[in-house]
Symmetry: C2
Subunit: 262 residues, 2 copies
C-alpha cells in the first residue's frame, strides 16, 4: 500500500493577500501536501457564486514556505475549488480547508459567506471540507490564539473524515484563548437596518450595505452564537443537501393534484 | 379589518431585460400588488452573493402593465431583495417570487443559483418565497406553456403560505405542456468536465466554465431530475437552515473534548 500524504486544498474568500490563509496553510502544512488556490482579489459575501460567461486565469506565485504551493484565480472562492480540482492539483484533493476568514461566519452568515461557499463546493465533490473563521474583521487580526484549535479540528477531520454530504463551519472567538470546542447548530437570525443612504454630489441617492445581525434565539444555549459568546470555538455541521425533506409530504398533498387547468 | 391585496416582490437573476421576469409578473399580477426589483445586468450563478464595500443604485423604469412597478438595482439578486425591503416597497412584502429563470435550477444547481439565492433571502426574512425556472436557456424561450402551473403554485402559496424556514424551488420542463406537479427532493449530483482550456493570442492559457451535470441517483424515482424527465413540474422544498442536525451528536462526541492543548 502506498503511504501517501493527504493532499490538502486551501482556499478562502479574502484573497491570497489576506494573512488568514497563510496562517491556515501553516497550521496544517505538517499534516499533508498543501496547495493554496485563492482568489486574486477579495470576494467576501460571494456565497457559492461561480463565474459564468467569462474567462478565468490561473497564476502561480512564489512561496517561501516549504511544502506549500500558491496559486491565484481571478474568480470566486467556488471557482478556485472547481478550477483547482479540474486543472491545478495532480489528483482529487483529500480535504478542502477554507479561511481563516477575517470575520464571523456564524448564524445565517453561512448563506452569504464565500468561505462557506468554497467549503460547500468541496462537500458537493465528496471531499471532507471545513471553513474556519475568526471573529475579527481586521487584516491585522491576531490568529495565533486560534492555532491549536484549528490544528486540532483539521487533525480530527484528516484522521476520521466527515459524514457524506456534511461539511463544517468553524468560528473562533477573537482576542482570547478559546475555552474549548462546541459542536452546535446555527442560530436563527437575519440582518437588519441594512443600508446607509447617501447623496452623491449631484444629489442622487446611493446605498451602502451595513446592518447588524439579529439573533432570533437569544435565549437558546445550543447555538453557535451562544457558544461563541461563551468564548468557545463553534463547530456547525452543514449539509450540502438543502431539501426540506420533512416538508415534502404535506406540500405534495396540496400541490401534486394541481393540473394547471384551474 | 382592512382588506388589502398581498404585496408581491418579484426578482430574478437574469436581469430586468430577461423575458421570464415579466412573464412571472403577469402570471401573478391579478393576485396582488406587484413590485419588480431586478438586477440591472445578468447575475446567473451568483448564489446568495451580496455586494459588500460598494455603493448600490436604484432606478425606476416605466412600465406599461397596469398594477406593476419596475425597479433595477446594480447588484445581485440578494441585493435586490434586501434593498427592496429596506427602501423600495412601502411595507414588508407578503411574498417573494423569483424568475422565471431561463434555465434549470434543479438538483445541485440550487446551490449556485442566483434565482434561489434571492428566494433564500426572502425565506430568511420570514417571507414565503418561491423560485421558478424553465428548463430552457434561450432568451427566446416560450414561457406560455408554464403559465397555468406558475399561476397555480403562486395561488396556492398565497392562499396557504409555506412552513417557516422553507421556500420552494420550482422547475418547469420546456417545450411541452407539463403532465402535472410533483413535490420531491433534489437529486444528488455534481458538475464535471467543468472547464474548456484556451490559449490567448500570447499563448497564455485561460479557462471557461462549461461542464455537465452528473446525476448520482439516476435510478431514483423521487427526485426532481426524475420527475422533470417525466415532463412534470418539480417542486422542491428548500430549507434556509443548513445545519446538519443529525450530525451534531457524533461530532460532539469527537470534538467537544478537544482542548487545543494536544
Amino acid at each position: 500500500m502506498e503511504n501517501h500524504r493527504p493532499l490538502i486544498l486551501i482556499t478562502n474568500d479574502d484573497s491570497i493577500s489576506a494573512p488568514g490563509i497563510m496562517h491556515l496553510a501553516r497550521c496544517v502544512s505538517s499534516m499533508g501536501d498543501v496547495v493554496v488556490v485563492a482568489p486574486e482579489h477579495p470576494h467576501s459575501g460571494q456565497s457559492a457564486a461561480i463565474t459564468v460567461g467569462a474567462p478565468l486565469r490561473i497564476k502561480e506565485r512564489p512561496c517561501d514556505e516549504e511544502g506549500i504551493r500558491l496559486f491565484t484565480v481571478n474568480g470566486t472562492p467556488v471557482d478556485c475549488v472547481k478550477l483547482a480540482i479540474h486543472t491545478i492539483v495532480p489528483r482529487k484533493p483529500d480535504f478542502v480547508f477554507s479561511g481563516i476568514n477575517h470575520g464571523s461566519n456564524s448564524g445565517v452568515n453561512v448563506t452569504y459567506s464565500g468561505t462557506m461557499g468554497s467549503v460547500l463546493e468541496g462537500c458537493i465533490e465528496g471531499i471532507p471540507s471545513v471553513g474556519f473563521s475568526l471573529l475579527h474583521h481586521s487584516m491585522k487580526a491576531d490568529f495565533t490564539l486560534s492555532t491549536a484549535f484549528v490544528a486540532a479540528i483539521a487533525h480530527d477531520v484528516i484522521a476520521h473524515g466527515l459524514p457524506a454530504g456534511v461539511c463544517l463551519n468553524v468560528n473562533i472567538p477573537a482576542k482570547v484563548i478559546p475555552e474549548g470546542i462546541k459542536v452546535c447548530r446555527a442560530a436563527r437570525g437575519y440582518w437588519t437596518d441594512e443600508y446607509q443612504r447617501y447623496l452623491d454630489p449631484q444629489g442622487v441617492p446611493f446605498y451602502w450595505l451595513q446592518g447588524h445581525f439579529v439573533n432570533q434565539e437569544p435565549e437558546a444555549t445550543d447555538t453557535d452564537e451562544y457558544w461563541l459568546s461563551c468564548r468557545y470555538v463553534s463547530v456547525v455541521p452543514v449539509k450540502c443537501d438543502q431539501t426540506a425533506h420533512d416538508a415534502i409530504k404535506a406540500l405534495a398533498d396540496r400541490l401534486d393534484s394541481t393540473t394547471g387547468e384551474a
